[in-house]
């Protein structure tokens, strides 16, 4: 036992005091847990820039932002990816980023450039929509609801599950969509009716999708779940036996989906500014943008990127996604959630 302790102590010292090899510069990228990328794509960047990229995964978007804000004075990383439009104002007011007017910005449509100061640059977007179980609807001869108001009809009693906006990002997104549609305080009436129509509320996406949703492998009880527009495509891409069709689809009526945009920014105080800038350019570049859909199940902000087949076939893009300004969200978020909790949970 003593030998083991001695050995591990020595190893500890070595790892802590190993001299930095001269050569590749190191870049640390902090992301949320959902970040994924193809091996070769990252390696290509490393090769091209003589760099070594390491990632720090930090929980969901809120937890990651928290981490970044808490370590503002001594940042843990050089680049932070994962702030979305619901947290954008908060991140900007905390002052964790430094501005970078990347040349790649010129290619990105205006609607995604929510930060005029160019501290947070848009990378991808995704739509939070209601997914429905095609088989269930067919079997019970139900028509797919076309508008948010339809959800309060008795035909859909107890058929919808959503997540608590206080603890879940898609849950919050859906709430914001209803606020955009019904206005404040109109949305509360809507939610009250949903509640009376047997709405199921759970803590987070994993529970809603895999425990409650009948269209997933968890085979739950509700055929409608608040999820992502890309989830139907994922069902096909992540099946072990080839599927001819996706078992689910999204409902994309007007204001029924909420658009989430995700941003990347260079953390203030970074020691590797030029490399960080190159990485940001890389994330906005064609190769990474094309890699994102299959890895993270989001849409690239850069137009004219080739999407995977499954995306084209099974993922629907709403024509009228709901969006609210980041400032408005930051101002009212707490009170909206509190009001919602009172209307639905109590």
């Amino acid at each position: 036992m003593q030998r083991f302790l001695a050995l591990s102590f020595v190893l500890l010292l070595l790892t802590a005091c190993a001299p930095q090899p001269t050569g590749p510069q190191s870049l640390t990228v902090m992301t949320h847990d959902s970040f994924a990328a193809t091996d070769s794509v990252i390696h290509a960047f490393e090769q091209a820039n003589n760099a070594k990229v390491s990632f720090i995964k930090s929980g969901d978007a809120g937890a990651a932002l928290n981490k970044a804000i808490l370590t503002k004075s001594a940042p843990l990383a050089d680049v932070f990816y994962g702030v979305d439009n619901t947290f954008l104002a908060r991140a900007l007011s905390a002052g964790i980023f430094e501005a970078y007017d990347s040349p790649a910005l010129s290619m990105i449509p205006r609607e995604f450039q929510l930060d005029s100061t160019d501290q947070a640059l848009p990378v991808d977007y995704g739509d939070v929509c209601i997914n429905y179980d095609k088989g269930y609807f067919a079997e019970h001869n139900l028509t797919v609801p076309a508008r948010l108001e339809d959800l309060t009809q008795p035909a859909y009693k107890r058929l919808l599950v959503t997540e608590n906006p206080a603890s879940s990002s898609p849950g919050l997104a859906f709430l914001l969509a209803t606020i955009k549609h019904f206005g404040d305080p109109g949305y509360l009436g809507f939610w009250g009716e949903l509640h009376r129509n047997g709405l199921q509320v759970v803590d987070g996406w994993e529970t809603a999708y895999y425990t409650n949703f009948s269209g997933s492998s968890g085979r739950g009880a509700q055929p409608m779940v608040v999820s992502y527009a890309t989830s139907p495509a994922a069902e096909v891409m992540f099946a072990t036996a080839p599927l001819q069709d996706s078992p689910t689809a999204s409902i994309i009526g007007p204001d029924m989906c909420f658009r989430q945009v995700e941003f990347v920014g260079i953390l203030k105080g970074t020691a590797h500014r030029s490399l960080a800038r190159k990485f940001v350019d890389f994330m906005l570049g064609a190769e990474f943008q094309a890699d994102m859909p299959a890895q993270m199940f989001v849409y690239p902000v850069v137009p004219a990127i080739t999407l995977p087949d499954a995306f084209i076939k099974y993922s629907q893009i709403p024509s009228q996604p709901a969006m609210l300004s980041p400032d408005e969200i930051a101002r009212n978020r707490d009170s909206w959630i509190e009001a919602w909790t009172n209307a639905v949970l109590h």
């Binding site: 809120g62 928290n66 088989g135 997933s216 739950g220 909790t341």
Partner: protein, 566 residues
């Protein structure tokens, strides 16, 4: 010639020095990795404005519910755990070791997996409801489980019964059988023997178990969130929401402070009660008492207890291995046309990096990571736990203050502590030793509580006899202390091992993406849709359960060279 008896100057100094030395290591560990980060985050985020009456009122109301569900859960856990401890301590029956190990498996399963299992059994489309609906022709599921207080309570019992079993079983098998015989000869029938003689003598381990179970339930997070649902808010859940969703650190810190103060008060109360309950009993060989059922009543008890325990601990978890080998994909894209069939696809899928993700880690690697962290945690906990337990074994005035301090990390907010770690350690956060350190914080109270009674029971006479026969202090320790303490050490190691394997919250905060543990890997799979993801999560969970069961069985069967079992 014990140091306590002498009053002379230099002896007194050396006595305090010895005592101080015993406490130095665990205390500095706690100071560095608990107090420092906690105080820093509180100081960082609390401000006068937050301490408003409204906030305090909400905090206290949340505290009320948290205490309520924890107290209820603890009582139910005792009700399940005490008969189970009797079963395992007193009787021999086929399958004993396996059932014993199985009661410990839940302790290290991530909540998301336990929730899936319970849901498969008791959810609206679970086996129980489907069976009932079919047999009685009901249109809607009769059992409402998920989203009720009942689910929270059941899950807590499911998780924590093993704590009661482990702490009480040892004490029970160490009891002198003559005491029960004396009681019987004085006219006490079996129930009265239990009530008046055996249970009072078990008061100390029962109290210790209650303390640990209560604190676990008090700071319970995953169970409340996933099985209770949004209608139930405990302090920890609120802290999580305030801190990580609403980014409202001041309120989160206030709640964390309330939680900590309550824990301090509670553990001080416990220490006072426990000290009074301490009864000296001589060490006994444990094996001698186990036997087969002798009377019909005993046979019924064994059969009943085994049935209940198997149903409770095995059924919910059966869903996981079953699902890991059944086809979970929709057939031809139509979910209602569910295909039957077994498959090992999900297991083989674990070894394929289908998307060539940079973060792919083969399951062997995740298992190895988990085991490495667990091993390090065991070593650390024992290294810190032994001196603390030795100091507590001979209690003095100092111990009354230090004992509650040791328990604190269990009753403190993990989320807040995590944030404290971020603020305090910065870049060191992702150092490989951080994870075992965090695990040790949680495991330490268990280790100390398991070791302490054994160390307290070491008879000075035996050591003196060994010394008079020429044994050096080390050989005396080896021949006298070690056999008595060995069993407790193994039990403590088992605790630390299982706690480390199943820890999720701290680990997700501290680990590097390239060294995921199994619970983290499971969580990763469940955060994306698709049959392959779900199936792999089930497969990993099954692997985790198998790994744990084997690990526990091995620890329990370990026959180290040495004297007789104690």
């Amino acid at each position: 010639m014990a140091p306590e008896q002498s009053g002379a100057g230099p002896h007194r100094a050396s006595f305090w020095l010895r005592r101080g030395a015993l406490w130095l290591l665990p205390l500095s560990f706690l100071a560095a990795f608990f107090f420092l980060p906690f105080i820093r985050i509180l100081a960082f985020s609390l401000d006068a404005a937050t301490l408003s009456a409204a906030n305090l009122r909400v905090a206290l109301a949340t505290l009320g519910f948290t205490v309520y569900q924890a107290a209820l859960s603890t009582l139910l856990t005792l009700a399940m755990g005490l008969p189970a401890a009797v079963l395992f301590a007193r009787f021999r029956f086929p399958g004993r070791s396996l059932l014993h190990a199985l009661t410990a498996v839940p302790f290290m399963l991530p909540t998301v997996v336990v929730a899936a299992g319970f849901n498969a059994l008791l959810g609206p489309r679970g086996w129980a409801n489907l069976a009932l609906m079919r047999s009685f022709g009901l249109s809607s599921p009769p059992i409402a489980f998920v989203g009720t207080l009942g689910a929270i309570l059941v899950a807590h019992v499911f998780y924590n019964t093993t704590i009661v079993i482990r702490l009480v079983e040892g004490a029970l098998s160490g009891l002198d059988p003559k005491l029960a015989q004396a009681a019987r000869s004085l006219g006490a029938d079996a129930p009265r023997v239990w009530w008046r003689v055996i249970l009072p003598l078990l008061r100390a381990p029962l109290l210790a178990a209650m303390l640990l179970v209560f604190l676990f339930d008090f700071t319970s997070f995953g169970v409340i969130l996933l099985l209770g649902g949004p209608s139930f808010a405990t302090l920890e859940v609120q802290i999580y929401i305030e801190a990580l969703s609403l980014l409202n650190l001041p309120v989160a810190s206030l709640l964390a402070l309330v939680q900590l103060l309550f824990t301090i008060g509670f553990s001080v109360l416990y220490t006072r009660t426990a000290v009074r309950s301490r009864i000296q009993t001589a060490p006994r060989a444990a094996q001698s008492n186990r036997r087969r059922a002798a009377t019909r009543v005993e046979w019924l008890f064994i059969a009943g207890a085994v049935l209940v325990l198997s149903a409770f601990f095995v059924l919910p978890m059966l869903a996981l291995p079953l699902r890991s080998i059944s086809r979970l994909d929709a057939d031809r894209g139509d979910r209602t046309a569910v295909q039957a069939g077994l498959t090992t696809d999900y297991y083989s899928e674990l070894f394929i990096n289908r998307r060539n993700s940079i973060f792919y880690v083969p399951p062997i690697q995740a298992a190895a990571n988990s085991l490495t962290y667990a091993g390090a945690s065991v070593l650390l906990s024992l290294a810190l736990g032994f001196p603390a337990a030795a100091a507590l074994a001979k209690p003095g005035r100092l111990e009354k203050i230090l004992d509650p301090i040791l328990i604190l990390p269990l009753g403190a907010s993990a989320v807040t502590l995590g944030l404290g770690f971020i603020v305090t350690f910065g870049r060191w956060l992702v150092h490989p030793w951080m994870v075992p350190l965090a695990h040790t914080l949680v495991a330490l109270p268990f280790v100390v509580r398991t070791l302490q009674p054994a160390l307290a029971s070491l008879p000075e006479r035996l050591r003196q006899a060994a010394a008079s026969l020429g044994a050096s202090p080390f050989r005396s320790w080896q021949a006298v202390d070690w056999p008595i303490v060995r069993r407790a050490t193994l039990s403590a190691a088992g605790f630390a091992f299982t706690i480390s394997l199943g820890e999720f919250g701290a680990t997700s905060l501290l680990t590097r993406p390239e060294y995921p543990t199994i619970p983290i890997a499971i969580y990763r799979f469940l955060s994306q849709p698709g049959g392959a993801n779900y199936g792999q999560a089930m497969a990993m969970a099954t692997l985790l359960m198998a790994l744990t069961t084997i690990g526990i069985l091995m620890i329990e069967r370990l026959r180290l060279p040495g004297a007789a079992e104690f």
